[in-house]
Symmetry: C2
Subunit: 368 residues, 2 copies
């Protein structure tokens, strides 16, 4: 996999530095692995980061010793710290924080567990720290919401490949095969297309199963006339793309075709509402209004979309307005899915999903 | 996928009831998705549970409405609570806790984030709760560490299928193909063997790459004489299995063959140390001692093993003794990996991993 070059990571560190200053922080303990990958280019199943304005202390265990050394060699602002034998991440973090006594140190409240927080605060207190750690929310995630050109190139590339995989699967013919067989073929095609892995469990839902938005592919054999929802995604160089298509197998009935048209119309309305400055809930409302106009208000069982990037669900959230939560407005450089759906229990459902870039003037579809 | 039948879930609830009584708790807020799946048979990407001695309140959003209703219909002790449009999980949880005012309510400190904890405690306080939520650790995970017969049947089945996948891949010949090609073939074979998905990113590491325990499969073409580490796992009916094999391609050199023998010897020593009542760190020490005897003390870069089940890493942890952490002793019914390895930077490495059941009298290999 390709990793963002040092100058890209350097620019991300500069952006983080500004965020730290805004929040009057001298350092931030980063525990979210996608956030660590974003700032350092270190992709692993474990790790911790102490981010300071000009330096990133990266902690990892000895399984990742070589990768850790490689990151540090490539990026002069990454200070590697390999755990010693038998040392825990939490103990190593306390050691790494030691020189920061008296500074304002933040942590990621949406990712740090209560257990680790208790351990950290008790350990630091026993070493004479008097200032509490500062809880922060979304400092790195908000940077990640606006993709830099390097990220965009990866997502564009992934979106083209993912579209080709979906087209290939749908043009191979579905009738007579099981959902599970087709899902396995999707996963194999994703690998063949160069993706590191599927971005999530591939969904192939046919007939009445298509009425469940998160159905698992099973032994059901697809029949002529079935609605089939295919929802799949791939990870390319660490970046997720995500796409859904709904088709009627064979000639199909008028009702099935109409449902697909109605959902497609809802997606077009959401697409037309995407522009810098728009509130995500207004994009959601645009899709919801179309479906309500077709009598499908109660059939739309989820939000209209979500940001994609290093994670398959990230900022912004394109959902209904929620008490106590305000999503930041859309901005150029965000990449999000638009995926309205309508689901009629016991009969069937449809979902149409594309990945969309917010541009200076509106929106651009990345999947085709 | 097959889900544990109601009588199995009933027995798990009875075991949880005893744990709640031990800890003087009237209820437990469960946020870990594998813990929720264990107690309710509800497998989803979101959900929350309020577990009480004789009742489980299961919260899920409308994407999962059908599954939620199905779980409740099958299991009379599951009380379904579908989120209303625009309602957040956290707000729904506060509502569900409302009738429990004045009771001792625990939460999972290793899973609940500081942000959610803050929201919960503030919301409950504003409704007049005076008692704090009680932090708990591993209540459900410790139950999960001992597999019930239904779980064992799923893991046994998975282990046999996974062994066949590995044997098939290794007997197909590796020379001349790239790591990435072989990894894709592994994933396709996993699906063909009936697994829902790989349990983790498949590792195929050849030549010098085999010196990195968590190498990612890349474009390197495998050559005669290479050490190749294959590490793969599958999820069957929600349960993970995990296996590693190391081979020398073609005739190979004496040094490569010796390394594999030494790691195999270390695994045999660990296997001989497994029995009910044994401390996990003693099993780790048994493997470590063999490798140290071969001058490979510093080449063994990770722990000897870990429990497997609904998660690919769960209790027990078979690692070195760690300051401030005591692992519970091994007990009959636990299933764990034994996977010593030795890694020589720039040259190559080896890892041999099997899944092992702790029996009344010792241990049984599940992978072959």
């Amino acid at each position: 996999m390709r990793i963002a070059p040092p100058e890209v990571l350097d620019a991300r560190l500069a952006a983080l530095k500004a965020r730290l200053q805004q929040h009057d922080l001298d350092a931030l303990v980063v525990v979210s692995l996608p956030n660590i990958a974003y700032l350092t280019g270190f992709f692993a199943s474990a790790g911790l980061l102490v981010a300071m304005p000009d330096e990133l202390i990266l902690l990892a265990d000895s399984r990742y010793g070589e990768s850790l050394a490689a990151r540090a060699q490539e990026c002069p602002f990454v200070q590697p710290r390999e755990l010693s034998p038998g040392e825990s991440y939490d103990a190593a973090l306390v050691e790494a924080l030691e020189p920061l006594r008296g500074n304002r140190v933040g942590f990621e409240a949406a990712h740090l567990t209560v257990r680790r927080h208790l351990y950290l605060t008790r350990s630091l207190a026993s070493r004479g720290w008097s200032d509490p750690l500062v809880d922060t929310d979304g400092l790195v995630e908000e940077l990640r919401a606006i993709k830099d050109p390097w990220e965009l190139s990866r997502i564009r590339d992934g979106a083209v490949r993912l579209s080709e995989v979906a087209n290939c699967i749908l043009s191979n013919g579905l009738a007579g095969r099981t959902e599970a067989e087709i899902a396995a073929e999707v996963d194999a095609e994703l690998r063949r297309a160069g993706f590191e892995r599927p971005a999530f469990d591939t969904i192939v839902a046919s007939g009445p199963n298509s009425a469940r938005p998160h159905a698992r592919p099973g032994p059901r054999r697809i029949e002529d006339g079935d609605l089939v929802v295919l929802d799949c995604g791939g990870v390319l160089d660490g970046y997720c793309t995500d796409l859904s298509r709904t088709v009627v197998v064979g000639r199909g009935g008028a009702r099935e075709r109409r449902l697909i048209e109605q959902v497609t119309e809802a997606q077009a309305a959401a697409f037309a509402a995407v522009k810098p400055g728009a509130a995500p809930e207004d994009v959601d409302a645009a899709a919801r209004e179309v479906l309500a106009g077709h009598g499908l208000a109660d059939a739309f069982l989820h939000g209209t979309g979500h940001g994609i990037g290093l994670e398959v669900h990230e900022l912004p959230r394109v959902t209904r307005k929620r008490a106590g939560y305000r999503s930041p407005p859309l901005a150029a450089g965000m990449v999000l899915t638009l995926e309205p759906g309508a689901y009629i229990s016991g009969w069937g459902g449809a979902r149409i999903e594309d990945d969309v870039l917010v541009t200076e003037s509106g929106a651009e579809r990345l999947t085709t």
